[in-house]
Symmetry: C2
Subunit: 426 residues, 2 copies
């Protein structure tokens, strides 16, 4: 009888109190006076968190390793040596972060390893915890560096060259990381995966509003961002005739309305936002010369996202006159769908454990986005109070914290037993 066939009731129970106390222990590292956490990527606090995790792993005999991109792995061996089921998230936080974003997924994964260890269960294949390097991007932008390098989307050289506001490079911090843990083996980034499962707080209030405990994430919506610059001609507000003006604020108003209209044609799932606008010289009595603004565009379907993105660029071009427009494409993160088999397994676990659950889309990006093209991937969401995240008041209920880890354990064992050949991991 494989694990896949076993009744969920026979799988071991995680220890919610142990997990909670580890979460609070980790929150001491980089603790802020306001109950929040400041544990930015590759900082001394981030290294201290890694050291604590490696220590906990040693106590239960799981082996730590780093890749050269600073991703940390803790592996519980399986009955065979095949590709592991990878579970985890990230340890780094925003500068004004909370006690759950990222670290919850890592410690839920650790709770799975420890529960299996304590129960004497050897999974059919390795189960590997991962703590991805720099998911947040607050110190070194943009984030998700570790998972991007692992997935081969960015080169190691590329991320090593990125510097923080004080001029310190990722490369220098990665070298310091290697010096700090000389006993931990290091390998090149990337290896074959059997599956990937990432638990995380929802960072929205859908689960809380509907009194649900578990979200089986269907996918992460795609996102494009742009910076548009409209350039006109500065002039005196009291003298310059209207017909001679190239007024960048008026051009902005035309472009903004045309873009919104083009976006709305894509139907109810589109999200189009102009959130940041900078006017120059921004003086009450000067016809404005320049407006620079940012667009945030999201949709679950890449074809729609591409179509609307092109329509926005065309709107800037068409409506700017007599000003000129320049479009800078910034983020271009395609939408991805998660494994239907894993989603079904998450919902089955929740049902068996009596946890109200739903499928839902992730509006925010996660490292799982970069695993989905590589393997069967999934995310498990638990509620966070008021949907609040990236904030010292970020909070998750201890029962929900435990529930998510239990569903992770159940789903992880099912995935470890499943085989790609028979379609169990579609």
């Amino acid at each position: 009888m494989t694990l896949m066939d076993r009744n969920i009731d026979t799988l071991p129970r995680i220890d919610g109190e142990r997990l909670w106390s580890r979460l609070m222990s980790m929150a001491e590292i980089g603790a802020r006076d306001d109950d929040g956490v400041d544990r930015q990527a590759l900082s001394a606090e981030d290294r201290a968190a890694m050291a604590r995790l490696i220590g906990w792993g040693e106590a239960i005999g799981v082996t730590a390793s780093f890749d050269t991109a600073g991703n940390l792995f803790l592996t519980l061996p399986g009955a065979s040596e095949g590709a592991p089921v990878l579970i985890g998230s990230h340890l780094d936080s925003q500068p004004t972060g909370g006690r759950f974003d990222g670290v919850y997924g890592v410690l839920a994964a650790f709770e799975v390893l420890e529960t299996l260890h304590d129960a004497g269960i050897t999974p059919p294949r390795p189960i590997t915890l991962v703590a991805w390097m720099n998911e947040e991007g607050g110190r070194f932008a943009p984030g998700m560096m570790g998972s991007e390098v692992f997935a081969g989307h960015r080169s190691l050289d590329d991320i090593r060259a990125v510097r923080d506001a004080e001029g310190i490079s990722v490369g220098a911090e990665l070298d310091l990381l290697a010096e700090t843990f000389p006993q931990v083996p290091r390998h090149e980034p990337g290896f074959a995966l059997h599956a990937y499962i990432e638990p995380h707080i929802e960072q929205a209030d859908r689960l809380e509003r509907d009194a649900l405990v578990i979200g089986a994430v269907t996918g992460i919506q795609g996102k494009k961002t742009y910076e548009i610059t409209l350039s006109g001609r500065e002039a005196h507000a009291g003298t310059e005739p209207m017909e001679r003006r190239a007024d960048a604020v008026q051009a902005f108003a035309r472009v903004a309305l045309a873009m919104q209209a083009a976006a709305l044609e894509a139907g109810p799932d589109i999200r189009f936002t102009i959130g940041r606008v900078e006017v120059e010289p921004n003086a009450p009595s000067v016809v404005p010369a320049t407006v620079r603004f940012r667009i945030d565009l999201r949709h679950p379907e890449n074809a729609v996202l591409d179509r609307v993105g092109a329509a926005l660029e065309a709107a800037a071009e068409q409506e700017a006159s007599p000003c000129t427009s320049a479009v800078r494409r910034m983020v271009d993160a395609p939408a991805n769908g998660f494994s239907p088999a894993l989603r079904a397994a998450i919902l089955a676990s929740a049902a068996a454990r009596g946890l109200p659950a739903t499928e839902l889309l992730s509006a925010a990006g996660h490292d799982a986005r970069h695993m989905a093209p590589l393997t069967a991937a999934a995310m498990i969401f638990i509620p966070c109070r008021g949907g609040l995240s990236h904030h010292p008041d970020e909070w998750a209920d201890p029962d929900h914290v435990a529930a998510g880890a239990q569903v992770l354990l159940d789903t992880c064992l099912k995935a470890a037993s499943a085989t790609r050949e028979n379609g169990d991991l579609s």
Copy 2:
């Protein structure tokens, strides 16, 4: 034979070199490293400039006096004691000001007094130079304080309470001014005027473009300014459905276009500008909650200005939904027309002196705006290079500087001889 009847050729010539050297001498007070002038209202530099002017006056026997609003007067007595012809402008500058704005009008007026003194001419009534307190408003906002109090539009108590960025009040500086000049008599603000004439650089490039030397200003266009606040609801750019949003930037775009359309209906003389826009929280991935922006509206006709102003307020109300709008009226300075008789006298002087001239509208505000309701008022413009003003590179040609002072002398003597009763000063 009155002065009014005398041929202009028989009137004395001003001394252009003397005037130019006084301009350069005054530019030393508050001189900036970049050739500009920083001589803000009621500063030590402003007091030093007043002291220098009072000293020059003593040398030719003209009597100085202050009013309690800090306006400085130098009076050349006339044959009779009637209401004076008031001539001048202001000594204060913007923090990054130039060597001509304001001070040119004061020193051209002084050149008139000195020329008449040297020629032994006693005008039929007093000719009084004025240096208005705080025209610029850079330190104590808004400007034109001295002329507003003189005209009775603001109370002395009201302006005394205004404080600069360091918390120093106008009242404290006026008291210091009185202590600095104990020998100079002080009187209450406001007295009867026979006429008012203010020379000034154009601060636009109409005269330069058309190779003209003298502008007889027809009036100052009216100006209204507003601050509009559009209030929506902050939300997550990735999650909030479009139909649930109250997006303040989209509301701004609708309002800005509707306002521009309403303004353009007023024809070619309207000037409508949204020069300053502030978005909150102004973050790329947050649906903006608030847009606060400034409107600058100008037109030579008050009826049009009032009509367009009302239309702008209506546009904010109509187009803001689902956001709300709040309108704060700020500046409301009606248009004014200058004396046709004085304008004709200015053009006649220019013609007699061989100076190419035109009538033109002033887009910028001046102290003369507050004199026009009180008496026959006029302004004489001379070109400034490239129309540049409020800038260290501000420049006027020495020949034009002299020309404006000559036209002032001619016009001033005509006005002094004219009587209201026979319609000479319509």
